[in-house]
């Protein structure tokens, strides 16, 4: 049910049926490695190109989630999926192998929660029995598309983020599980007049702040309702900016806030300000956070996926980067 200007409250028993994650080599060495389902030890994932490797990440995660949930592919009513590559091709090359009804979406790194929010709305309103949300990113396919040829090797500033190689997928249905999807908030596009493709966190923080503030207002909540408000991915540069903006709006989230881009790597890994990419929030949420909710180490989590809607041609035309954030609230079910 829609509440307020940007949110939905899911009163109709919407649950995370199952999730699955697949990650690349650097993520397989990080602090969350035990929480992922499939670990690839080389960046091609057995394929011939980075784009095909990204498809392989999503393909294996989808096969895994279908197996874990003990369903058939034909049980999936509808899917919402996308990635960072132009024309979301890694996603298309996975879904052409299936007969799953398919809605392609694009929200840069916000795609993970855009797909989970749409899946939840469809299940809540009985437009789908089982909905599939899928997203992926690959460091090398993203790097050459958005910044420089991957082999270029130019030095990066500390504000840069490292695109995660990984895919996270989720199934949503009415079947009671340990994780209920409580509510969600769709974003509006916010442009903070930033144009540095090596500082996405600062660009995205104002969009995250707008969505979080509206989430509280639409649902009549305050930060204390959540044990964790998890952005994906503001990393070390954007996170303090988000906290500052919301403090100015009267919301102190400093105790509850953390960021997927900070959690997925350790300080000694070569990732500058932290992780990013639509795979980052997806694998952290569907791997790590799901486990903590199932173990009841977390009760109420708001996942806020942030997207920098960046395009190199438009930046060359001296434009700034519009951003968006979509949020979904998960809770440990009784």
């Amino acid at each position: 049910m829609k509440v307020g200007s940007q949110s939905w409250k899911f009163n109709n028993n919407v649950y995370l049926l199952e999730t699955a994650t697949a990650v690349g080599p650097l993520e397989s060495q990080g602090p969350l490695k035990d929480d992922f389902d499939i670990l690839y030890d080389e960046p091609y994932c057995g394929q011939k190109s980075w784009e095909q490797a990204e498809s392989q990440l999503m393909r294996s995660a989808i096969q895994k989630v279908i197996n874990k949930a003990k369903i058939k592919e034909s049980d999936i009513s509808v899917s919402f999926a996308g990635d960072l590559v132009n024309q979301i091709v890694p996603t298309h090359y996975v879904f052409r192998e299936t007969n799953i009804p398919f809605f392609g979406i694009y929200g840069a790194c916000s795609t993970s929660m855009e797909s989970l929010l749409l899946s939840s709305i469809f299940v809540d309103s009985d437009n789908a029995k089982i909905a599939l949300a899928a997203t992926s990113s690959h460091n090398s396919s993203a790097e050459r598309q958005y910044r420089n040829p991957t082999e270029y090797g130019g030095p990066k500033p500390d504000t840069a983020q490292y695109t995660v190689t990984g895919s996270g997928v989720a199934l949503v249905s009415h079947k009671k599980t340990k994780i209920r999807i409580e509510s969600g908030t769709v974003g509006i596009i916010v442009d903070a007049a930033q144009n540095d493709a090596n500082d996405m966190g600062s660009a995205m923080a104002p969009a995250a702040a707008q969505t979080i503030k509206q989430h509280f207002q639409d649902l009549g909540l305050d930060p204390s309702y959540y044990d964790l408000i998890l952005t994906g991915d503001l990393a070390t540069c954007g996170s303090p900016i988000l906290i500052d903006i919301l403090k100015g709006e009267g919301y102190d989230i400093s105790q509850q806030h953390n960021d997927c881009g900070k959690l997925i790597f350790s300080d000694d890994q070569p990732v500058f300000a932290g992780g990013s990419g639509c795979g980052c929030c997806a694998v952290v949420t569907y791997g790590h956070i799901k486990k903590l909710l199932e173990e009841k180490k977390l009760k109420h989590v708001l996942v806020v996926a942030t997207g920098a809607l960046l395009n190199p041609i438009i930046l060359q035309q001296k434009e700034t980067i519009p951003c968006i954030a979509h949020a979904v609230a998960l809770c440990a079910a009784d």
Copy 2:
């Protein structure tokens, strides 16, 4: 309400509240020119780049539809929008000027009906009071991205299609108007093993056939139910292939079929096999077809938007082109 494996039947009074269209110079000289709201007489539409021109097409169409429907921007509950440019930036640069809740989607030329189908599902299930579906394409921004530098001037084969410069937008709500949205069918991805970026119609025909056949099966209909089955855009090459495939499946649509890519230009315009681009199906449907439905010259129309999910990098990797088609059925309301 979901029916069958890929379709929805809208029993809950879903209507096309209003539409608006904006087109470029070649479209303004074509046979449908009197059916469009806004005609630009030069390809930059008063802007400094083709991408910005594409934004201007969508921006002016959205302003127009809001004015025609006599609503305020804040009355729009949710929007589904996208275009052909990498990262759908023309769309993002329009929506950053608004506070409209935004879901970015990507379906190549199928985006027009993907956005109208999602809007209709949201209104049917009371997840939105007024939903906005918007899409655009621009010949020059598409040409340089998908094929060759626009100034290159290489000759094209007769199978090539000409990307329409235009934007079509629609508002969907429960308010009774002359056009009811009856049903819709989401596509699955079909790859016909075609890899020629200058023959999209042949690549897309099998995806259109799958969606149309499933539409008939899910809703218990046959071709005779429709006065017009309108694809967008198979043009002159893909259209006979679609008719042949469906004949082989037991459905003869030869009497009802037409194609947006054939309707929007006349034979003496320099457009090879006809129009394409997600603006094509949008402006033909929301300009021309809407008028014919309002005048009751058409009663039941199935609009089938077809997308070639083409990416130049993947074609260089010797891959083929996956395709998809989404359908929405419109009828003249009593």
